[in-house]
Symmetry: none
Subunit: 228 residues, 4 copies
C-alpha cells in the first residue's frame, strides 16, 4: 500500500523538497502567529494550517517554537527591507525615468530626493498592506482576541485625543470634518513618538527636551503648512 498503484492518491501527500517544506511551514506559522499571537498559537495549529504533521513542523521549522517564530520574524523583516533597499538603489535608477538627470547635479537634488522618499514610502506601504500577517508578526503580537482589542482601544484613545487637538489647528476644506482629516496625521505623529521612544530606550537620549525637539524639527514645518 505504500506502493500504491494509484499515483494521484499517492501524491496527495507527496514528498516535497526541504525548501518547499520550510516555506510551507513558515507560511503557516506566520499566518497562525499573526492571528492568535505567539503564545496562544499552538504547534498543532501550525501543523494543521500547513497540512503536515507536528513532527514535520519541528523538522522544518527550526526544532522549537521559539526558533520558528524567530525565523518568521527574520523572513518578514527582510521582506519589509526590500522596498527600502530598492529606494536606496533607485537613487540613480528608479528616479531617473522622471527626466534627464544631469550627472553634474548633486545626488541630493531637491525634487529628486523628495521623489525617492515618496517612492520608497509608497513601496513600503504597499508591502505592508499586502502582507498584513507578516507585519503583524513583527509589530503586533496578535491582531485578534480580547487583549489585542484592549491594546488597540487604548492606543486609539491616545490617537483620537491628539487628533482632537490637531483638528483645532488644521485648515480643512469647507464641509470636511477636521477630526477625520486630523486622525491619520495624529496616528503618524503618535507613531513617530513611539519610534523615538524606542530609539531612546535603545540607547538614544532620554531627555524629553531633546526628544520633543527632534520630533518638532521633523514634523513642525509640515504641520505648520497644514494650518491655514
Amino acid at each position: 500500500m505504500t506502493t500504491d498503484p494509484a499515483p494521484a492518491a499517492a501524491q496527495r501527500r507527496r514528498r516535497l523538497s526541504p525548501e518547499q517544506r520550510e516555506r510551507q511551514v513558515l507560511d503557516a506559522a506566520v499566518r497562525v502567529f499573526s492571528r492568535s499571537g505567539f503564545h496562544d498559537a499552538s504547534m498543532d495549529d501550525v501543523a494543521e494550517q500547513a497540512g503536515v504533521s507536528k513532527p514535520m513542523v519541528y523538522t522544518h521549522g527550526g526544532g522549537s517554537k521559539e526558533e520558528l517564530l524567530r525565523r518568521c520574524i527574520r523572513r518578514e523583516a527582510d521582506r519589509l527591507l526590500v522596498p527600502v533597499s530598492q529606494a536606496a538603489g533607485s537613487r540613480t535608477a528608479a528616479s531617473l525615468p522622471t527626466g534627464a538627470r544631469t550627472p553634474a547635479a548633486p545626488a541630493d537634488t531637491g525634487p529628486d530626493a523628495e521623489h525617492r522618499l515618496r517612492h520608497g514610502l509608497r513601496a513600503f506601504f504597499a508591502t505592508l498592506t499586502s502582507h498584513r500577517d507578516g507585519w503583524s508578526v513583527l509589530y503586533r503580537q496578535a491582531r485578534a482576541g480580547s487583549i489585542a482589542d484592549e491594546v488597540h482601544d487604548a492606543r486609539s484613545r491616545i490617537v483620537e485625543r491628539v487628533a482632537g487637538l490637531l483638528a483645532d489647528e488644521l485648515a480643512v476644506p469647507a464641509g470636511a470634518d477636521p477630526v477625520v482629516i486630523a486622525t491619520p496625521v495624529a496616528a503618524a505623529l503618535v507613531g513617530a513618538a513611539e519610534g523615538l521612544a524606542d530609539w531612546s530606550a535603545a540607547g538614544g537620549s532620554d531627555d524629553p527636551d531633546v526628544l520633543a525637539g527632534l520630533l518638532m524639527t521633523l514634523v513642525w514645518p509640515g504641520l505648520d503648512r497644514l494650518r491655514g
Copy 2:
C-alpha cells in the same frame, strides 16, 4: 505588642485597604508584564513581585489574568493621556505666560501653537521615559527575552537602513557621523509609518499612494529643511 514601637516591622503582614492593595497588585503586574510579556509572566510572578499571595492577586486584580492585563493597559493608557490632555487645556493657561495674549488674536497663532505642541510632546516623552514599564505594556509585549530581542533587532535593521539612506541627504556639522544623527529621524519616520499602517488597518485608506502622500505632507518640509 499591639503598641509596637517599631510599626514598620510589626506591619510585615499588614492589612491594607482595598485601594492600596489594588495599586500594589497593578504596579507589580505592570512590572512583570513589561519584563516577561503577558504569557510568559505567571500569576505567581506577579504575586511574588507584589509581595502578596496569589489569591490576593486574583481578589484585587480582577479575577483573571486577562482582566488583570486589561486593567494594567487601561491605567497606563490613562497615564499617557494626561500630558496630552494638559496640552489641550494649556492653550489658554500654560501658553499664556509666554506673553500678553490679545484676546483678538486667533487661538492658533503660529508661535503659540508650536509652543503648545512642543510642550505637549515634551510632557509625553517625559511620561514615557519615566514610566517605561507602563509604556511597554501598551506598546510592546515584552522588553526582554530572546523573542523580544529578535523583534527589536528586526526593527532596528529597518531603522538603520532608513537612517543610512537619510544620512546621505542630511546636512551635518563637520566631523559628525551622519548616520548617528539620522538614526533618531529614521526611528521617528519608521514609527510614523507604522502609526499610519495601524490607522490603515483600523479602517483608514490602504492605498499606498495615499499613505505615502500623507506621510510626505507631514515630514517632507521638515526633512527638506534638514538638508543643506
Copy 3:
C-alpha cells in the same frame, strides 16, 4: 435582649445562643450540601446561606467541613429514625390505645403487626418527603448538577427495564398502562436489591443464590398476588 438598651438595632445581627447558632449553621449546611453535593458546596456558600460569616461556620459547625457534614448526616439520620422508633414504641402505645392488651395475646397478632408496619412506613415516608434535603444528604451526594443527573438517568434506565418486565406479568385494570403501574413496584424492587447489596458488602452473604432467595422470599408472595 442581653440587656441591650437598643433592642431593635442590636437584634439585627443579634447574638444568638450557641444552640441556636449551631442549628442555624446546620440547617444551612444541609440545604447547601443537598443542592450542590459535599465537594461542590463551599464553606462560603454555607456561610451565605446561614447569613453569618465564615468563621462562624467554623466555630459552630465543628471546625472543619468534614465534621460539618458529619454532623449533618447524624442529625438527619436521627430524624429518619424517629418514625421507626415510634413504630417500635407504638406496639404497646400507639396501637394499643384502643384497649387493654391481654398478656396472653401474642405480640405479633396478625392485623396488629400489619397495621404497625404500615403505620411506621407511612411515618417514614412522611418524614422523607417533608425533609428531602436531609434525605438527600444521607442518600445522594447532590440532587442537581450534570453528574447527579447522569446517575439518576442510569438508575432510571434500570428501573424502567425492570418495570417493563413486570408489566408483562401484572394484572392491571382495563385501560391502565401496565408500565406506569409497574414502575413504582420496580423502583421498590430495585431499591430492595440495592439494600441487599449493601448488606452483602457490609458482611452479609455474597452468594447470588442466597441474595436472590432472600429477596424472593420477601417479595414473591406480594408480586404473585399482583398477577391476575
Copy 4:
C-alpha cells in the same frame, strides 16, 4: 534492540489501540472513583492506576473529569442492565430447560414467572457482587473515607433499628439470633423504601399513604409468611 527477545519487557511502553487504551483508562477510573469518590479522586490518581500519563487520561477519557465519570457511569449501568435484559429474553429460552413447556400454557404461568424472576435477580446479584467497583460508582460516591463511613453508619443504624422491630415478629429456628436473620430483610425493606422515595422524588406520588400502601402490597404477604 528492536528485535528484543523479551517482548513483554520491551513493550513496557507499548502503543495500544485506542479501544484498549479507553478500556484501560475507564477501568482505572471506575476503580479510583469507587474508592475515593468523584471529587476526592484526582486525575493523577486515575493516571497512576491506569499506568499511563495524565494526558492519556484526557485523550482517551473524554477530555474532562466530568466526562470521564459520565462514561464510567454509562458503562457500568449498561453492565448491570445485561442480566435484566437476559431475564427478559429468557422467558422462553432460559426457563425452558426446566421442563417441557406446552405452548398452550400462558407466558406467565406461576412457577415459570417465579423462576424467571429468581433467575434474573440471581444474575443481577452475581453481576453486582463481581463488579463492586462499578456498582459503587453508580450507587455510592465513595466506598471508603471517613465520610463514606459516616453515611454507612447512619444507614446501618436505620437498618438495625428496623431489623430489631422485625426480629420480634419473625419466626426463627430455635437457637438462631432473630436479629441476624432479620437484618437482610430489613436491609431489603429499607432499600425498597429508598427506591420508592426516589420514584416519588422523580415525579411519583408523594402521599405517604400511597407510598406505604405500595410497599405493603409488595412485601406484606412475604413478611406475613415469614412470621410463624
